[in-house]
């Protein structure tokens, strides 16, 4: 393999968003240290401004169809990568906005919290573009590094420490699996770029890819790699939980799509089976366990695992349409989840609790928050005409076209189960009497995040066509994907004969 490391200026343009964000990160650090008395809100808004500028740049790339590959195909910028980068940067900006008041709880707080958040986002942006095993490993660890610190940020809090430790040990273990998997695959194929690989089914590649899948399964929190999720989500500072529940999922799906559809295209029948199993496990396990939860963060953690199960249905379909559906669903999930978590943060600040029982009578205390929460939960459950419904419909249609009826049936039964625990929260908010009837006040930035979540949930639900056009364009690289079909659907013969 020859590496061409001579980079022209035009090539560097492809890295412009990442380079810009890195520089901005330095600016934030410098401002933080140079002006010790600067109010921390300013730092937050400074970071958000940088993220928005990056977002603008990414949007410009997307509109002008900039694409290309760098460093011997280690780093690719195609429309799918751009989609995921926009997803990640947007989510990060919203997460920082939800943190503005929350950071007051951090002892010895300095601006490094924002730096760590943006740094993780930077790592995930590289993940979205990673096109070989090495950049996969490096970018994945890069993004996780920030999280290790962030999860344990509440240093006085035992829960947060426990969460940090659990996340770290299991995360490092997953990294070990990943490295081992990569070495096996490389040893067998001698290639690291996904598109060159064309592996044959030897025991080395099979074990290697299973290990890689396990590591990525850890990242997205699919059952049976989910065990870190509930405690980590529960213990981590809530904005970090928000971040953890959204952005890394998107980045990991970018990698999964590239691995399954590019590197492993020839193994489709095998991985479809694997994904079906993981998807069924994730949905069923998470939805059943979620019923018993009494803490809002844990409930959302399990609901998040179930949503991952839904996303895997789309992946298991193994078609371009399935991938469109995944991208669409991720967006719907982004808005509903960030909105729901923003409300958890806001309520947590006002009443100092994240227990579901303390949401009693929220409707009397803040009709706006209760109504927004209702919409977010219904969108997660997939009630029309909210974004989550169109997302689920899209995924189910895609899977059904491939004849995955068992999976669909399980998915649908799970919708009913999930409705049950979402309704428990709704019941608490609307029916129960508040313990303390004083109104819940929320700050302007939180309100802004909730509004963004509402707008996204409603607009994507009611008028999804532009978003569908966007995701269909983003997965155009899979248009000619013709791996051996898992379920051969014969053309329907003319009827009656």
């Amino acid at each position: 393999m020859t590496f061409n490391l001579a980079i022209s200026f035009a090539d560097l343009l492809l890295l412009l968003p990442e380079i810009f964000l890195t520089c901005w990160l330095c600016v934030v650090v410098i401002v933080d240290f140079a002006c010790p008395r600067i109010p921390q809100e300013r730092l937050a808004f400074l970071s958000v401004a940088g993220l928005l500028a990056t977002l603008g740049c990414l949007a410009w790339f997307d509109l002008s169809h900039v694409s290309g590959a760098l460093f011997g195909n280690m780093f690719v910028l195609d429309r799918m990568a751009l989609f995921f980068k926009i997803f990640i940067v947007g989510a990060t900006a919203l997460v920082i906005l939800t943190s503005v008041q929350y950071v007051d709880r951090f002892a010895f707080f300095r601006g490094e919290y924002y730096v760590l958040v943006v740094m993780s986002a930077l790592g995930m942006m590289f993940m979205a573009s990673a096109n070989d095993l090495l950049s996969l490993f490096v970018s994945l660890e890069f993004s996780t590094l920030g999280f290790y610190v962030l999860v344990g940020y509440l240093r006085e809090d035992l829960g947060s420490n426990e969460a940090g430790l659990k996340f770290f040990i299991l995360g490092v273990f997953a990294a070990g699996l990943l490295a081992y998997g990569i070495s096996l695959v490389y040893g067998e194929t001698g290639k690291i770029v996904f598109s060159d690989m064309a592996p044959t089914a030897t025991s080395g590649t099979i074990i290697g890819f299973l290990l890689i899948f396990a590591a990525l399964g850890f990242k997205i929190g699919a059952v049976p790699f989910h065990s870190w999720i509930p405690d980590t989500y529960h213990g981590a500072p809530t904005p970090v939980t928000t971040f953890l529940s959204i952005a890394p999922k998107g980045a990991a799906f970018a990698i999964l799509l590239r691995i399954f559809f590019v590197a492993l295209a020839t193994f489709k029948p095998v991985w479809v089976f694997l994904l079906v199993a993981v998807s069924i496990l994730s949905m069923t396990y998470a939805n059943i366990v979620a019923i018993a939860q009494r803490n809002m963060k844990r409930l959302l953690a399990y609901s998040g695992i179930a949503q991952i199960g839904n996303l895997l249905i789309g992946l298991a379909a193994g078609t371009k349409m399935g991938n469109d559906a995944i991208l669409f669903y991720l967006l719907a999930y982004l808005f509903a989840n960030i909105g729901a978590f923003a409300i958890v943060i806001a309520v947590g600040q006002a009443i100092g609790s994240e227990e579901i029982d303390d949401y009693s009578g929220l409707n009397r205390r803040s009709p706006f928050l209760a109504f927004a929460m209702l919409l977010f939960l219904l969108s997660l459950a997939g009630v029309p005409p909210l974004a989550g419904f169109i997302g689920k419909l899209y995924i189910f249609v895609a899977a059904m076209k491939e004849g995955l009826y068992t999976l669909i049936t399980v998915g649908l039964i799970n919708i009913v189960i999930s409705m049950y625990y979402y309704l428990i929260v709704v019941k608490k908010m609307y029916i129960n009497e508040p313990i303390d009837p004083s109104p819940v006040q929320i700050s302007g930035t939180m309100k802004a995040v909730v509004y963004v979540g509402l707008a996204g949930t409603l607009v994507i639900g009611i008028y999804p066509q532009p978003v569908i056009d966007w995701v269909v364009g983003a997965t155009v690289m899979f248009a000619n994907f013709a791996g051996p079909s898992a379920v051969v659907t014969p053309p329907v013969p003319p009827f009656g004969g």
């Binding site: 219904l378 009630v383 029309p384 005409p385 419904f389 169109i390 419909l393 899209y394 189910f396 249609v397 059904m400 076209k401 669909i408 049936t409 649908l412 039964i413 919708i415 009913v416 409705m419 049950y420 309704l423 709704v426 019941k427 609307y430 029916i431 008028y463 999804p464 066509q465 569908i468 056009d469 269909v472 053309p491 329907v492 013969p493 003319p494 009827f495 009656g496 004969g497």
Partner: protein, 519 residues
């Protein structure tokens, strides 16, 4: 095969969205009387629009009328497609009519959170209308599901019973369980259309549009599968025996206004007529399906009537009588002939007046005695003669006395059932006898004879608002009973078209004819 008549003005959209927009207006109002008056005004305008549609509707035609079509999500073939035909247009009128009455009824019976209550009612009206006027299956499904949300809150927040939380959750989960299966059926229809379109038209379109789906033939085994999937959705909602267990709970625990809409507007059986029968004609007339469904229907007739006979609580009695009546409707539908279908459709409308009317009566009794248990009634006719009279009129309509609307519908159903198979009719007739028994027996114990111990001596007879409700229902009952032809004329064209579609020999014949047209 189905032509569409469009008018320039999007009147169905107005009908569809007026209540929900009205609900938003209510949200901004503060004064409670103002809220009530506005809600009444909104429902009256809605009724006026619905009556206008009924008057402008071209009878004896199978065409979809007043259609509107906008592409909504072209990538998945979802469109915003509205229209009414002879099957659905009467339901639009019925829903608007009942909504007015419910608002009038709720005027002084709902005391807390009046604004939210009326907003939920109006939202429920929009979603119900949406189910009737949608010609796109996803649009239909959207309204079908959305209906659960206002219903959930109505049962939970304004229900009278102690078990209302359980009832609300049961209602939502049961209906949802049915409708997720239906969604699979809908998606299968879509995929079938996609495959057909790519073979015959060489384009890769998806469609959820009822009229387009009707053009694409479906292989028989697929039809059977889709039929049962959609059956789950409709059977849970209707509810068809043995999926009925949520109904008595929801009707008993929920507020009267909700019960009127839930029991009066027969969404589930409408679904069979609108989607299952025309889309899946071969499955619908296959021996197994007809036998199974009709037997379920007959079981419902007998079981419902039998259970109603022993109920002490009037609302429970109504719930079971409702199940029994739905059995009639199902038998009529799957008799699959003109009389059966026409009778079923008319009966669905009739029940909107009679069952809903009896629920209003139950409400009147409830507001006098704070319960609907038989133990607290007895000999009430002496104290409340007007109430007793209307109770009798509406009740007799519900058991199908000649001269009332119930007779016309049930007679047509029985005719259709006898034509299909003699024993369908023979068993169904038993239901009529039971029906008369449970109603008259209950009426006798509640209204006639010696005055019950628990009956308050200060009980007042019907007030003006209640008289308005009772009289308007009675007028409709007698009108349809004595002069049903305007209603039958409206539905004839569509029912005939449906029968023709069902009588097509095989799918193969249909297929060859479409190919020839293509050439």
């Amino acid at each position: 095969m189905l032509e569409e008549l469009t008018v320039g003005f999007p009147i169905l959209s107005c009908i569809l969205f007026l209540p929900v927009l009205g609900a938003m207006v209510l949200w901004m109002l503060e004064d409670e009387d103002m809220v009530r008056t506005s809600a009444l005004a909104i429902t009256l305008v809605e009724l006026a629009l619905a009556v206008y549609v009924l008057l402008r509707f071209v009878p004896e035609s199978a065409a979809m009328q007043f259609t509107e079509r906008v592409r909504w999500i072209p990538a998945l073939g979802i469109s915003y497609h509205l229209g009414v035909d002879g099957i659905s247009v009467l339901f639009v009128g019925l829903t608007a009519f009942l909504s007015v009455l419910v608002v009038i009824y709720s005027w002084d019976t709902i005391r807390h959170q009046v604004k939210l209550y009326l907003m939920c009612l109006l939202a429920l009206e929009t979603t119900t209308m949406g189910v009737f006027v949608s010609l796109d299956l996803i649009l239909f499904f959207v309204f079908w599901e959305l209906m659960l949300i206002p219903s959930y809150f109505l049962i939970k927040l304004w229900g009278g019973g102690a078990e209302r939380h359980y009832a609300a959750l049961k209602f939502v989960l049961y209906t949802l369980l049915g409708s997720v299966f239906m969604l699979v059926g809908i998606a299968l229809l879509n995929i079938n259309f996609h495959q057909w379109a790519s073979l015959h038209r060489a384009d890769q379109t998806y469609s959820f549009d009822l009229l387009e789906l009707l053009a694409a033939p479906i292989p028989f085994d697929q039809q059977i599968l889709i039929f049962w999937l959609m059956f789950m959705g409709f059977a849970f909602k209707a509810p068809v025996f043995p999926f009925h267990t949520w109904l008595p709970d929801a009707l008993l625990e929920g507020p009267i206004g909700m019960a009127v809409v839930l029991a009066g507007v027969k969404l589930g059986t409408f679904g069979f007529m609108r989607f299952s029968l025309p889309l899946l004609p071969d499955a619908s007339k296959s021996e197994t399906v007809v036998t199974v469904v009709v037997i379920l229907g007959l079981c419902a007739i007998l079981y419902g009537a039998w259970m109603a006979l022993v109920q002490q609580d009037f609302r429970r009695l109504l719930a079971y009588s409702s199940i029994s009546h739905l059995g009639f409707v199902v038998v009529g539908l799957f008799a699959l002939n003109f009389q059966g279908l026409q009778g079923s459709l008319l009966t669905m409308i009739n029940l909107g007046f009679s069952t809903a009317g009896l629920f209003f009566i139950a409400g009147f009794l409830y507001s006098r005695q704070q319960t609907t248990q038989l133990a607290s009634f007895g000999g009430m006719a002496k104290q409340v003669p007007l109430l007793a009279t209307f109770f009798l009129i509406i009740g007799l309509a519900s058991i199908g006395l000649p001269g009332t609307n119930g007779f016309v519908g049930e007679f047509l159903i029985l005719l259709g059932a006898f034509k299909a198979k003699w024993w369908f009719g023979a068993v169904a007739v038993l239901g009529v006898i039971f029906g008369a028994a449970y109603f008259l027996w209950y009426y006798e114990r509640a209204m006639l004879g010696p005055v019950g111990k628990a009956v308050k001596s200060t009980m007042s007879d019907l007030q003006l608002r209640e008289i308005v409700i009772a009289v308007s229902l009675s007028v409709m009952i007698v009108w349809i009973g004595l002069y049903p032809s305007p209603f039958l004329r409206i539905m004839n064209g569509s029912v005939q078209a449906l029968v023709d579609r069902l009588n097509h020999d095989t799918v193969a014949a249909l297929e060859s004819s479409t190919i020839e047209e293509g050439r």
